[in-house]
């Protein structure tokens, strides 16, 4: 792991390690409702570390890869500008503050979670959080409908039924649906 992977030319401005850490920490702290959008704002719009085209390139890669997209973005971007230390520092900046925040919130929940007032408040928030997630799914599905990809839409519905309603373990679901998805993709690549 010595040479940083170079997929696109290195951005014109190359942030130092501290700058990288600080910037991703800011993304982590202010990233309400989708950290990746904040990561784009920071790297492309504010600091000019990447062009929009470079961002789209890296974004496509991060969507292709499994795992949290925004962490993948930090790893790939960090590696581009500062190699392995860059990856680690960007990741630490992204996850560190949230980790601390979650430990604090977890401790507060452990202590006050049984209070009826908090229970009622959280119960309300959860109903909205569920809607946010379902709404996000609907938003993501729009291109499938626009492009009349009925086979993909059927596959999506099958996943919702199998995993969401029938509670099929993820491994089973991936084992069954991934080959079907890849066959669909092979016959009709975008």
């Amino acid at each position: 792991m010595s040479e940083p992977p170079a997929t696109v030319p290195a951005p014109v401005l190359r942030p130092g390690l501290w700058n990288l850490f600080r910037s991703f920490a800011i993304v982590s702290i202010f990233g309400f409702g989708g950290t990746l959008a904040w990561a784009r704002r920071m790297t492309v719009d504010e600091r000019k570390w990447m062009t929009p085209a470079e961002f789209n390139e890296v974004f496509a890669l991060c969507q292709f890869l499994p795992g949290p997209n925004v962490v993948n973005f930090a790893v790939v971007f960090g590696a581009r500008v500062r190699g392995v230390p860059g990856s680690l520092v960007a990741m630490a900046g992204l996850c560190g503050p949230s980790l601390v925040l979650m430990v604090i919130l977890g401790a507060l929940y452990g202590r006050y979670g049984e209070l009826p007032e908090l229970q009622r408040f959280l119960g309300g928030v959860t109903t909205a959080a569920a809607g946010l997630t379902i709404g996000t799914m609907c938003r993501m599905a729009v291109p499938l409908f626009q492009n009349k990809q009925w086979v993909s839409i059927t596959l999506m519905a099958a996943v919702v039924i199998a995993v969401g309603l029938l509670k099929l373990p993820l491994w089973w679901a991936l084992g069954i649906f991934l080959p079907i998805g890849i066959i669909i993709g092979w016959r009709k690549p975008r």
């Binding site: 992977p5 997630t133 609907c138 991934l178």
Partner: protein
Amino acid sequence: MKPDSATLITLLLHFGLLSIAAVGGGNSAIPEIHRQAVEVSGWLTEREFADIFAISTAAPGPNFMISTLIGYQVAGPIGALVATLGMCGPSSVLAYYVSGTWEKFKYARWRMAIQTGLIPISIGLIGSAGIIVAQAADHNAVAYGVTAVTTVITFATRLNPIWLFLIAGALGYAGLI
């Protein structure tokens, strides 16, 4: 709370595997996280899972932080760290190496086939996550109504979700949900 090493190893393995199985992003893993934490291991009750989902969704930061909170619930601060490392570690190592060779297969047919095939699956998994949380959280007509309205607002507008959380939280506080 003194975590034993067996629990920590279970956490690391569980989230480490999910890191690679979370196709298309961290939220795809939520149905499996729920299954493991509530149904298989009994780490959390259904209500605790719903609460933790709400806290991690409403708090700033990457959305996979639900793993961190579950780690904390199971084994304290060390559990939080272990779960986070598990969720980020394997996928990050993969990202580092794939990023170096991306250029070679960016336009390969198999690469596009996998990506096209993953899209409906990851959308379906995110929808499943929403349904699972709704089942855990919604117990009356007002609750279903809030979930439905939030779904529509999220779909149709770009309103910052924090307002929806506050309104829904207030309705809950008032004892309506």
